[in-house]
Symmetry: C2
Subunit: 151 residues, 2 copies
DNA sequence: CCAGATGGTTGATAATGTCAACCAATATAC
DNA sequence: GTATATTGGTTGACATTATCAACCATCTGG
């Protein structure tokens, strides 16, 4: 298998996917970047969200997670609540405006998925989900292994 | 099919893939970013490369392509040659140093591909390539359609 | 009680990506 | 032959993404 083509295929997919999302963001008039959208979505859907749970789940740098959360708070889309179990940490909850924004985000994501998957069978999509889950796990395992090697 | 999971699967894949490549860049001591690597690779492999052909093939913004080329020239990895057919345009060719760098790039990409595809069958990989080609085409078609709509 | 670890914050920087305005050259239409 | 439109590429500017380091407050384990 040409390794070149796997690498290049991934690059191109990443690129067009992001470009498509950005176009959708404009079309749906969502005043948020892609990462803000993902995070707001997560806060709306997952109870007891904290900065730390996003670091875990999204694999994002905690500095960046903090900044995104602050920007969502500045936009009055989420609020912080005390975490009675750990005063270092705060729970994140959506505001009414955040919940309303979620509706538009869901429309955007539905549309993006439909566009991406046109002409693909349900089997193909399921295979894609399974294969990308494996690839993601492989890549994450490699990174963890490296980190451990450095320690 | 949960549209959320397709979107999130793509985000996570993009993220871990890039992180893995960056780790590989460090490990192979390649003093280039991912985009510089892709472009140098393209220049080494494809005759009559110009800024314009990269814009076409990689779907990248021409401003960015120009900047990357300039940086590769500054690093003495590529050179420009006159294009006798069009004085606006220049052919890009690798230098000896660029060709040597290609060897390391190929090692990096081979390793990244092997890591990503661990535990996947040849059929899975082939399915992945086919499905991502369709998705990339779908997303690109959507973007082109939109652009036409605006004109 | 205290050293070490953890959750989160801020500063700084690099890479990626886009848009706009521009110039030189080419192509097209008349 | 010439004016106009288009194209290839350049530069300025800015936003988003991503990371690392240093730090503070708090928690954990011995």
């Amino acid at each position: 298998m040409a390794t070149q083509s796997l690498n290049e295929a991934l690059h191109q997919l990443l690129h067009v996917y992001k470009r498509q999302l950005r176009a959708g963001v404009i079309r749906h008039q969502i005043p948020l970047s892609i990462t803000h959208i993902r995070m707001l979505k997560g806060i709306c859907r997952i109870p007891d969200s904290t900065a730390g749970t996003f670091v875990q789940r999204m694999g994002q740098d905690k500095a960046r997670v903090t900044r995104i959360i602050n920007e969502l708070m500045n936009d009055a889309l989420v609020e912080k609540r005390d975490n009675p179990h750990d005063r270092r940490s705060q729970f994140l909850v959506p505001t009414d405006a955040g919940l309303k924004m979620l509706g538009r985000i869901e429309a955007l994501e539905e549309e993006a998925a439909v566009q991406m998957t046109g002409q693909l069978s349900a089997e193909d999509i399921e295979a894609f989900m399974r294969i990308t889950a494996t690839m993601t796990q492989n890549a994450a395992d490699t990174a963890d292994k490296e980190k451990d090697d450095h320690e």
